[in-house]
């Protein structure tokens, strides 16, 4: 019967497992935290990154303009000065060829005099030689350091160009003298067909001189190329005059063009290019981008550094915040689950209480009848000395009465469990109370050679509580400890007041311990591990009493090592 009642009660009273668990598992909270971190980080960081990107772009644009401006201005200055240099000499030659007659010019001394005069002037000087060439290309007259009279130029490029255009400035070339030089020549038409040419040569070195004096920044590479990409002045980067360079020749533009490109080493360079008017020259100003944009890279590094620090800070705060947030949620869920569990448990106790009371009460009446009838039988047999098989019948009746007694123990416990506890309030000195309780068990402890140690903190306060109920509580727990330990085992009872207003009683044994499964159910009614020997109500009643007294009861245990019950009681009972 006991078993079937237990089964019934268990089925009625056990809560479905999922109700006491928090809604989210550990991985659920991890997922939630990830989502929170991701969402917050996106909202916080994306605008920051976009802003930084836009800023970088804008700054770069501004800084590039600032970098280009001086390069552009310097290149323009150099272009002007070169153009002036060439134009002044062209004009002088034009003037001379128009001013003097052929016979005047075709006179070596006169030519020499003209050249000397020109070289005296800074603005038209720096001529190496001067010559007069007829329409067949033959140099008729020559003033200069080389022996070039009688040379025929009819197959040279510059000669064709002058014939065609009237005035011409040549590339730098080696010519008969085998020295880099350039030619400025102008044509004088004689009649319909005939003409003659006044030609001056200038040392190519003079072009470099012009570039040097144009005020270009030291450290940069400035040089001239012709339209075919051949150096017309020496370059730091590309070498000596007349070397072809790998840089593409820019398209014609009247002003200064600035562009960036990667050189043959893959390094970025800033190039400013300007075409020199009325000449085959292109002025190139070349600067390493790294140098040109030195300020820019400092600024960019500062911005990126700021971005990195901000990102780290924001992520740190977000991670910390998300952790706090999720932990708070988890804690709240845990508390809620615990509360639910407790409510569930109280309800369970209450309904089992009602059920138990009903069952006990119904059984009590027939039990009382059995008790009295069997008792009467015992009385009658005892009175009749001649009752046949007297002892045998007395034995039978006795065992009936013993069984009734056992039943009564069960029904009384059930009723006691269900009974509304009417609590008394007395001042209780806990060590004395525990000694009283141990007094009940003294004999057993002696027989079994159990070592019981009771220790109380010096500052232990007396408490206001119900003496009878507390005795019941400690009797139950210590009884269980007795059952758990082997003969010769230890039970340590410690009383302390860990914080004002509370007293703890810790009862520790070195017995068999309680398995994890059992530990969870230990305070449930009808849960017993003492196969058939217990009602399974002891600890459940204990739990109920401790709760009624405003206290708490905790249990820790490890199989094979022992168990520890801690009862926490308030010094003043509330309510």
């Amino acid at each position: 019967m006991n078993d079937s009642v237990n089964d019934l009660v268990r089925r009625v009273s056990e809560p479905p497992d999922d109700e006491v668990r928090p809604h989210l598992s550990g991985s659920g909270y991890r997922h939630l935290r990830r989502s929170v971190v991701l969402a917050t980080a996106t909202v916080a960081l994306v605008p920051l990154y976009i802003m930084t990107g836009v800023n970088l772009y804008q700054y770069r644009k501004v800084m590039r303009n600032e970098m280009i401006q001086p390069i552009s201005r310097l290149t323009l200055n150099a272009k002007k000065s070169l153009e002036y240099f060439l134009e002044a000499r062209r004009s002088a030659l034009n003037f001379i060829v128009e001013d003097r007659t052929f016979s005047e010019l075709c006179n070596r001394d006169e030519l020499k005099r003209i050249m000397t005069n020109m070289n005296r002037s800074h603005s038209v000087g720096a001529l190496v030689d001067l010559g007069l060439i007829n329409s067949s290309g033959e140099q008729l007259c020559y003033a200069g350091p080389f022996e070039l009279e009688g040379k025929n130029y009819s197959d040279q490029d510059w000669f064709f160009e002058v014939e065609r255009h009237g005035t011409y400035t040549s590339d730098v070339f080696l010519g008969f003298r085998n020295l880099p030089h350039l030619v400025i020549a102008t044509r004088r038409q004689v009649g319909e067909r005939d003409f003659y040419i006044l030609r001056a040569t200038i040392d190519a070195e003079m072009l470099s001189e012009q570039l040097r004096t144009a005020g270009l920044l030291p450290g940069d590479d400035v040089f001239l190329i012709n339209h075919r990409g051949i150096l017309q002045s020496p370059s730091r980067r590309y070498g000596e005059v007349l070397t072809p360079i790998s840089l593409p020749v820019p398209h014609y533009s009247p002003g200064v063009e600035v562009f960036e490109l990667a050189d043959e080493q893959g390094e970025d360079v800033v190039v400013a290019a300007a075409f020199i008017e009325d000449s085959p020259y292109v002025l190139i100003y070349l600067k390493k981008a790294r140098d040109a944009m030195a300020h820019w890279s400092t600024l960019r590094n500062e911005l990126l550094g700021f971005l990195a620090v901000s990102t780290a800070l924001i992520l740190g705060v977000i991670l910390w915040g998300a952790r706090q947030f999720v932990n708070n949620m988890r804690e709240a869920a845990r508390r809620r689950a615990a509360l639910l569990h407790e409510v569930e448990y109280s309800n369970k106790l209450a309904s089992i209480g009602r059920l138990a009371a009903g069952v006990a009460h119904e059984i009590n009446n027939p039990l009382a009848i059995i008790n009295e009838k069997a008792g009467l039988l015992e009385d009658l047999i005892t009175l009749d000395k001649n009752f046949p098989n007297r002892d045998k019948f007395l034995g039978i009746v006795h065992s009936v009465l013993e069984s009734v007694k056992r039943c009564r123990t069960i029904t009384h416990r059930l009723l006691g469990f269900a009974k509304h506890m009417d609590l008394q309030n007395e001042t209780i000195h806990l060590p004395s109370l525990l000694e009283e309780v141990l007094g009940f068990l003294g004999k057993e402890a002696e027989y079994r050679d159990l070592h019981i140690d009771l220790e109380a903190a010096d500052d232990l306060p007396t408490i206001e509580s119900d003496r009878g109920q507390l005795q019941q509580v400690f009797l139950n727990i210590i009884n269980n400890a007795f059952a758990a330990v082997d003969d010769g085992g230890h039970i340590d009872i410690a009383l302390a007041s860990p914080q004002s207003g509370l007293v703890t009683v810790t009862i520790e044994d070195d017995g068999v311990g309680i398995s994890k499964d059992h530990l969870e159910r230990i305070f449930e009614p009808f849960f017993s591990t003492k196969k058939g020997a217990g009602t399974g109500l002891g600890l459940s009643i204990t739990y109920g009493i401790v709760k009624k007294l405003g206290g708490e009861i905790h249990v820790k245990s490890e199989v094979g090592l022992g168990s520890q019950f801690t009862v926490i009681l308030p010094v003043q009972r509330k309510g």
């Binding site: 009371a357 009460h361 009590n364 009446n365 009382a368 009658l380 009974k419 009417d422």
Partner: protein
């Protein structure tokens, strides 16, 4: 010395007859009835020292009986039997002058001892 006169009241006839007989064996002048109203009638027609009554009975229950007896026959001592003594019942019983409570199933020796003490005027 006159034997103590006991009236046992319980709605279970089998219980009443057995208890009465056992009390008689132990030298009490015991009678039994199976309801509160019967008990009242019996008390009016004869005199008793102690009434032992079940708390839970159909009709007039133990506490009501105690209340009436308290008014009409204050000299009669009352012992109540209960399946489970709820604290409210105990409290009310005390107020009505109930001597003691016994829980069912009763132990006859406990009852006998209680009856003896009661009539000696100890309680």
């Amino acid at each position: 010395m006159e034997p103590t006169r006991v009236l046992f009241v319980d709605d279970e006839h089998d219980l009443v007859s057995a208890v009465v007989e056992r009390l008689e064996i132990r030298g009490f002048a015991a009678e039994g009835v199976t309801s509160g109203s019967e008990a009242l009638e019996r008390i009016e027609s004869g005199s008793f020292d102690v009434v032992v009554a079940d708390v839970k009975m159909p009709g007039l229950d133990g506490l009501q009986l105690a209340r009436i007896l308290g008014q009409r026959h204050p000299k009669i001592r009352i012992i109540l039997l209960s399946g489970h003594g709820s604290s409210e019942d105990v409290e009310e019983g005390r107020r009505l002058g109930v001597v003691d409570y016994l829980q069912k199933p009763i132990d006859i020796e406990t009852l006998v001892e209680l009856l003896s003490r009661t009539t000696k005027g100890g309680l």
